[in-house]
Each structure stands twice: as structure tokens, then as C-alpha cells.
Symmetry: D3
């Protein structure tokens, strides 16, 4: 049995390329929708917009308000983990370089397949805009997105 979190965290922390692709394939075989990409910025809005755009383009969410709303709140919650206290980047002189996954499906792979949740995991570095002056961070947000 897999969990939505183990799948989404696994994909977000995997190395780009073969390792990530294998995990995405496995997730899809279990019936999950899953994408992975990167974003780096000092602007919070660019991070949010990048994840929303990729999710829509890749068909993780449909063009409905309630799905967009669930994704948005999942992104904000994941950013709270990365930012730890203040949802701010450039205006408090810090920048992020993040891999992220967006995964959609049941909370556990072996039960209650009618309820789908969306999960966003962000993983990477946060720090001063000086090379090497940064440390790792992670964040996860999840909301119910639909009922099959």
C-alpha cells in the first residue's frame, strides 16, 4: 500500500530525470495523476503561478473553481512549510529554488477510491540571494478535490 504523501514526497525529492520519471510512472499505474517540475524565484506570486499553470496544462486539475481553490490552498500550505512563519520571499531578502510535485488521488492507494485529494509538495533550498548561503526546506499541503 502507498499513501498520497509518500508518493508526492517521493517525487518531489527525487533527482530530476530517470529517478523522478520512474516514480511518476509507478504513481500513474496506481491510478494517481502526478507531475513534477522546478521553480526558482524571489517572488512568491511567480512560484504560485508556475505551479498553477503547470497543473492546469498537465490536466491535474480541470478548469473549475473548486479544483483551482483546492490546488491554491494546497500550494499556500506547502509554502508555509518552506517559509516557516512568514509567507514572504524577496521582501524579506530571501529566495527559493524548488522542485515540486502535484499529485491527485486517494489518501491511501488501497481504499476509499471515491475521494480524491490533491497534494502539493515543495522541496529545495531557501536562503539569501548569495550562492551557497541557503539551506533545505520542505512543505506539503493537501485538500480534497473531488469525489468520483
Amino acid at each position: 500500500m502507498s499513501t498520497l504523501g509518500s508518493i508526492a514526497i517521493g517525487i518531489a525529492i527525487a533527482e530530476a530525470g530517470e529517478e523522478a520519471e520512474t516514480l511518476i510512472s509507478e504513481a500513474r499505474k496506481l491510478g494517481y495523476k502526478a507531475i513534477r517540475s522546478q521553480v526558482g524565484s524571489m517572488s512568491m506570486d511567480k512560484v504560485i503561478a508556475a505551479i498553477e499553470t503547470a497543473s492546469r496544462r498537465e490536466g491535474i486539475i480541470s478548469d473549475t473553481y473548486h479544483q483551482e481553490h483546492a490546488l491554491y490552498h494546497a500550494i499556500i500550505d506547502a509554502l508555509l512549510g518552506v517559509c516557516r512563519g512568514q509567507l514572504e520571499l524577496g521582501n524579506i531578502v530571501r529566495t527559493v529554488g524548488l522542485s515540486y510535485s502535484v499529485v491527485c488521488g486517494p489518501i491511501k492507494s488501497d481504499c476509499n477510491r471515491e475521494e480524491n485529494w490533491i497534494m502539493v509538495v515543495l522541496y529545495g533550498t531557501i536562503g539569501a540571494p548569495i550562492k551557497g548561503f541557503e539551506h533545505e526546506a520542505i512543505g506539503l499541503g493537501t485538500y480534497h478535490i473531488d469525489t468520483r
Copy 2:
């Protein structure tokens, strides 16, 4: 090359038992101090105290204020990721069941071995005090702890 974060996240999300033990052994071979345990509670203070006690008992930190201070702030930052916005559990009717790792060493395994950072990763579930009414969460905090 490994990073402090990949080690600490890996240990926290590993299954208890052989998988976790193997990762801890590998981390120690790279020169990292590392522990892993579980804690579940509706009381934030019990979660914090459990991690502090285990870290002292297992020798992750020494009995000095600056090391305790670094660990404490790493725990609080990790809890901010788990709690996403409000550092509260039982008083807002939610409970956590968490695995956690505490890892100590350089930010990257292959460089700057004079600077040691401490990292706390929390991974598990958060939700209502009703079985099955919970979802996954993760958090990570890290501070500099000492210079060799």
C-alpha cells in the same frame, strides 16, 4: 554527494525497522549523527519535549544552551510545516502522529565539514481525533549548531 536534508527527510519518511536503520547507518558512515523515533499527541509541548529528550539522551546535542537553542528552533520550524499557519494542536481540536529524524552534520556531505547544522524533520499525519479523519503532513527546520 548527499545533503543534510536528503538524509534527514529520507530517515523520517522511511518505514520503521530495517529501512530506517539502513539509512541511519549510511548517514553515520558519512559522518552524520542521526536518530529516528515516533511521537503522537494532541499536546504541542509533549511533541517538543519528546524530541528534545531523545536528542539529548542519544547524544545528538550536548548539554549546552546554544545547542539546545538550535534544536528548539529547528523543532519549532518543523512544526510550522506540519501545522501550516497556527502552532496549535489540541486547542484547535487536532492531533498528530509523527515519525521524526534529528540529524547533525554539514549541509552537504562533500564540503565545508567544519560547519555543523542540526535538522529536524517531522512526517506523519495530522487531523481530527477520529480514526481515518487525518491526512499527511511534513515539516523541516534547521539551524547551525557548531563549528568543528
Copy 3:
């Protein structure tokens, strides 16, 4: 045309008795589920539990995790409006006396009737535990709950 918010705010700020009952009846005729009650406490958990219990007992939500999760987040968001900054009551020496409504249905009464949202509105007083040393407050939270 009515909106979910105008219905839920109207019921929460109405006087108990005939005025509130009339508004609830009108909401039900439009296809909305709606309840109204009161709760007063210095304990945040008692406020949350009272609203959750009433909502389950009155059939506003079913006994599923995703509906409980949506209600929970709506309550927390509404409390953020009442508390304005710190999600705390007795431990910062203040108490609330609140009327509340929980309403379920489409965002607007005349369209998109497939998407149901749940909304919690809290209205009443917050202040020192001294009679008359209190002022009014209001809060609203809303999440998608189901698709018909």
C-alpha cells in the same frame, strides 16, 4: 439571486427566534442546508467542537472525512476573523459569545448548482471576561464540500 455568503451572514446576525427561523426557511426553499446556534467559551476547542457536533447532528455534513475536513477549515477561517491575528482565547485572557450559521449549497443560488460549498459565519462579542468589556466581531470561512 442570493449568494451563499448573504444567506450565511444573514442567518448568523439575525436575532434568535422568528427572524432567524424565517431566514433559515427561505434558505432551505432555495435548496440550501442551513443551521444556526450559539456558543460561548474561553476555550477554542469547545467552540470548534460545538459547531462540528451541531453540523453532524443536523445533517449539514455526512460522516465522511472530506466533509469534516471542509467544515473544520471553514470554522478555523471564521475564527481567524473573530480573533484577528492570534487563534487564541482563554490563554490570552479573552472570551467569546457567538451566534453561528453553517450553510451548505452553491456559491450563487442561480447557477452552477453542481458545486456545493460549506460556509461558517461566526458573529458575536469578544473581550475580557468582565461583563460589558467586549466588542463585536465577525468571521467567515468557506470551502468546497461536494459535487452533486
Copy 4:
């Protein structure tokens, strides 16, 4: 008997035009100062400045620091209810369209007419900068402004 909150909420949620004008007239007959207007923006500073400017121009507050300070904190508290957790709009990719009231007078219409409080109520929608991808929100802030 009316309360400052019932007056200010009533005016803020009323439909623009006759309904709002009637409520403002009634409030003024009871000795309250009251205004109502609209503001929509992705910039928090524009929302705040619009309410401050209208309040000064309409004579709700005098040109004294302590009155400006009370109004400012009432606006911020009201925005906390609208924003629910993070006092941010455009930089986390959301926008508001708000009606607001600013009302000044005693906490209850029938007593203690020496103490005047200022109250700001914001009501409208918050959401993604996409038409229809938004839900309702409300917020209220109030501080003592003067003693007659």
C-alpha cells in the same frame, strides 16, 4: 436598541443604492457617523489608502494622529478577517472586490454615549484573478476613537 456592529455590518452587506442609503440615514438619526463605499484591488496598500482617504474626506475621523491610528488598526483587523491568516493579496495571487462601511459611535445605541468607537466592516469577494474563481469574505475591526 442597535449595536455598532449590527449597524456597520448591515451597511457593508447592503446592496448599493437605496438599501444602503436607508441604513446610513437610520444610523445617522441614532447619532452615528457612517459611510459606505467600494474598493477592488490586488494591492493591500490601495485598499487601506482608499478607506483612509474616504474616512477623512467624509469627516468620519478628524486630522489627529490618535483617530487615524484607531482607523488604521480597525482596517487591519478587518483585513485579517478577509485574508484569514496572511495579510497579503497580489503577492500570493489573489484579489479582492469589497464593499465597506466605516461607522463611528457608541458600542450600543442606548447607553454610554460618551465613548465613541470606530468600526470598519469589509464584505465582498476574494479569489484568483479569474472571473468567477472567487468566494465571499467578511472582516470587522473596531477600536476606541474618542470620548465626548
Copy 5:
């Protein structure tokens, strides 16, 4: 010329006894009301109640809601400086030992003597409940209290 802040900070950070008494006397000669005391606790509510009780008993505030409200918000703002992010003590395993001043009068000693503000300054240590495992902290809150 003195400022409300320089008086209140000076009294709060002075050594108990002669140094503090001299500063309080000087403040009173300038027309300010001023008190100083200590409080130590892991319970936020005990800290707040101690300052409120002393302020009422010593006549810094009268028994009116708007003065209690101004004092309360000044205490909360000062605690935000001491706590830096989370308004919590014992439930996140930390304790405070604080000196505090409560001072009432004009913002500047040489002008606008009609507007009185109340200021609370907290100064002392915050840390783990282990002797020596603590560092210093300070906080200041101020609100308008009355117009002469």
C-alpha cells in the same frame, strides 16, 4: 524633551530598586503615570492578568472598557515582541521572566498634552525551563487611551 517610549523602556530595563524608582519619579514630574513590576510564568494568561491587575490597582487605567481595551492591546503587542512570531509560552515549552513598565501620557513630553497614550514595555528573559538556557527579549505596545 522626553518621549513616552524612552521613559517606558528606561523604566523597564532599569535595575529594580533605586535606579527604577528615580526614573519613575522623573516620569511623574513630567506628568506621566508610571509603574514597574515583575512577572515570571509559563502561562501567557498569568502574565497578562498580572499586568492588568497592577495597572488597575495603581490607577494607571480607570475602570472603563476603552482604557482596559487599550491596555490589553498594548500588552499583546509587547508580548509579540517577546515571543517573536507565536504568542505562546508553556505549550511550546518556554518560560519568561520579565520586568515591565506601564506608562501613560503624551507621546512627547513637550507637545500635544491633550492626547494620552498607554505604553507597555516588557523586558527580561525567555527560554527553556532550565536555568541558564534562556536569552533576553524585549517588547513594546502602545495605544491611545484618552484625550484630556
Copy 6:
């Protein structure tokens, strides 16, 4: 015996010129590194950058990540005291005019001289961008920076 806090607060609240210079000299005689300067802005990032730049230029911190990290967190904590709840300036229409000190050394002047902490104290005014519409504020942040 002096404490790191009494030194850093003393320097930050001193009048610019002779009074401040004397306190800095005394601190240096006790083995502390200490600087003092001013910054005023509606941009949080300019405040942070000014303090970081001065600290590096004056040799308070070395060009290492862990020292920059400790300074950064001390600045953020000090700003939380000044801002009291929301780490924002211009985007919520307020501005600061601050004196600040950055001091480095043991927590107490007479013991444990191996542990050095860095402390940032900010003191000045915060308020509307209108002359005279501002009040005083203070904030302090401190982290361990190095072990001798």
C-alpha cells in the same frame, strides 16, 4: 556584570553621537563587537539589507553562511517586535525610522566566554507616512553565532 541585551538595547536607544559612542567603547572594552546606525524605509528588504551590509562591512560577522544566517534570523526576530504581528511595511501603508545596534559576544559579560551570540536591537518609530502620525517601537532578536 553586563548582559548582551543591556548592551545592545542601551546602544540602540542612545542618542546618536557622544552618548552612543561612549556605550560602544565600553562594550568593546568588555570584549564585545558592536555597531550602531540608522535606517528608515517603507521597504522591509531595504531595512534588512542595510543592517546586513553594515554588519559585514564593520566586521561584526565574517563571510560565512552560518554567521549570515544567525544575523538574518536576529534581524527578522527584531522586526517582529517592531511590526507586532505582520512582517510588512509599505504594503500595509506604514513606514519605519529606526536606530539599530548589532552586538556580538557572550550572553553575560562575566561567564561562558566561549559562546558568542549575535543580537540585533531596532528602536525608533513606526506609523503612517505622515509626519507626526507615528509612535515608538522596539524589537530584539538573538541567535548563537560561534564558539571560540
